[in-house]
């Protein structure tokens, strides 16, 4: 498949590149330059640049929109929040609109499990629970991006899969730390994106719902964030921070 990957410079983007780079042709999109293998294309632009996005979605089979914010953001809090909001909403809309108009059939979006942080510890969170975004723009804007993507699934013949990702940390980089129930190794996140790409590969006209949503997280001994639904896209976390949980 020819895949457009946004937020490609982020740790999540790089993990997805590692996961999919062998078997697919990647076009890596980010607002800052990326050092990449020469078999991949690189596009350095902002999602809010409609012209650049238009070019970036040409001859693409699938869009993996990580939802990761740009690395360079204003230091002023208000300006930073405004930009985050703009990228997540208008940027996502520009991307999805250009993609469906170019004939892209699959979109996968990286949302966040952070939306469920306000729930108490004794509640099992599945995809049925109502997200409770807070005014913290990083998390709220991620959710607004998810809502924006969903509307394209309503109106167009495109499959849109939202993956609500846990807190991205590499298992080998948190050896001594107290574990968090929301931890997710980026390598497992990348596998979830790979699985989501395959969600709608049947040729039957009733292959699937256009919109789907999965929670993606590691599996600690006493999980709070349940990921059994994601087994439907072949998700099975390999990095569960066992050493960290053992020492708790």
């Amino acid at each position: 498949m020819r895949i457009l990957l946004t937020g490609a410079a982020s740790p999540l983007g790089r993990a997805i590149t590692d996961e999919l780079g062998e078997g697919h042709q990647l076009r890596l999109f980010d607002s800052e330059p990326i050092e990449a293998d020469e078999r991949h294309e690189v596009v350095t632009a902002s999602l809010t640049d409609a012209t650049a996005v238009w070019s970036a979605v040409r001859d693409i089979d699938a869009v993996l929109h990580t939802g990761e914010p740009p690395a360079q953001l204003p230091s002023d809090e208000l300006a930073r929040d405004q930009q985050l909001l703009d990228e997540a909403t208008r940027g996502t809309h520009i991307l999805c609109k250009a993609a469906v108009e170019a004939g892209v059939k699959r979109i996968v979006y990286g949302s966040s499990l952070d939306l469920f942080a306000p729930y108490p510890e004794d509640v099992y969170i599945s995809e049925m629970w109502k997200p409770l975004p807070t005014p913290a723009m990083a998390s709220m804007s991620r959710y607004l991006g998810e809502l924006t993507c969903r509307e394209f699934a309503r109106d167009f013949h495109v499959s849109v899969t939202a993956l609500r990702l846990g807190m991205l940390v590499r298992e080998d980089e948190v050896a001594e730390q107290a574990p968090d129930l929301m931890w997710l190794d980026p390598r497992d996140a990348a596998r979830a994106f790979a699985g989501a790409l395959q969600r709608d590969t049947s040729e039957s006209p009733v292959w699937s719902r256009r919109w789907a949503l999965y929670h993606i997280c590691s599996l600690p001994p006493n999980p709070k964030y349940l990921v059994s639904a994601a087994a439907g896209i072949g998700f099975e976390p390999q990095h569960n921070f066992a050493a960290n949980w053992k020492s708790v």
Binding site: D122, V123, I125, M128, K130
Partner: protein
């Protein structure tokens, strides 16, 4: 109150009627024998004369008959059967009917919240479609004859858990028998149903803020007793 119960041997009847038998003069009927060997009158809802005869002298009719998958019977039982019940109620001046069916919101609204009275979307399956049609028949009769109709729509029904369940979120839109019994009593006792017909997506688990029970609370006084979601709490603190 004399109540004609149709479908006493089915999936729901054997769990529901025991909770009503003390307070209501129940007439149990079905096409099949009761699984616990209880005596049940034979009544085929697809035969109008049988329905009319069994409804004589009744104050209320509860229709818990169903056929979920047969291409013909699903229409005869679910749609035409519902019509027979309403026609008999109109003919005999029976003013209360409790209807039942599958919920028709889950597939479309699973990612929405505070869902209560939304247009139902049963899709083209036999079960969903034939039951949707039965609802429209009920509405027409409520309007025309002032019959007060309460319809309960289900996703899942089961025993209440007896112990905590770990590692799982609670099932969506699922009602336990005790709450169904509670709801049916409330339906039978309700003097007047707003608009003549009301349907409720009934369940016993509060927490997702997804499928709302607000209208059931307000109109019937229904409340899950207790909130079944409490059985699905994740252990915290010392326990792992």
């Amino acid at each position: 109150m004399k109540v004609l119960f149709l479908g006493a041997s089915g999936l729901i009847g054997p769990h529901l009627t025991p909770g009503l038998v003390d307070d209501y003069d129940l007439r149990l009927t079905d096409v099949k024998e009761h699984p616990d060997g209880i005596e049940v009158e034979h009544l085929d809802i697809t035969d109008y004369t049988q329905v009319l005869k069994a409804a004589q002298g009744m104050d209320a009719i509860m229709n818990f008959t169903v056929n979920r998958s047969d291409a013909d019977l699903s229409f005869h039982v679910n749609t035409c059967g519902a019509w027979h019940v309403m026609r008999a109620a109109a003919e005999l001046g029976i003013r209360k009917v409790v209807h039942s069916g599958p919920q028709a919101v889950r597939s479309l609204y699973d990612h929405d919240f505070d869902v209560d009275q939304v247009p139902s979307r049963p899709s083209t399956g036999l079960y969903g479609t034939t039951k949707l049609l039965s609802a429209e028949i009920c509405r027409a009769y409520a309007r025309a004859h002032g019959i007060q109709i309460v319809s309960f729509l289900f996703n899942g029904l089961h025993d209440a858990p007896t112990e905590p369940i770990t590692g799982r979120d609670f099932p969506v839109m699922s009602v336990v028998w005790a709450d169904l019994i509670q709801a049916c009593r409330q339906a039978l006792e309700l003097e007047s149903v707003p608009g003549g017909y009301q349907e409720f997506n009934l369940h016993s688990h509060l927490g997702h803020e997804k499928y709302s029970l607000e209208r059931a609370r307000e109109i019937l006084g229904f409340e899950p007793r207790p909130n079944m979601a409490e059985f699905y709490r994740r252990p915290v603190g010392e326990v792992v």
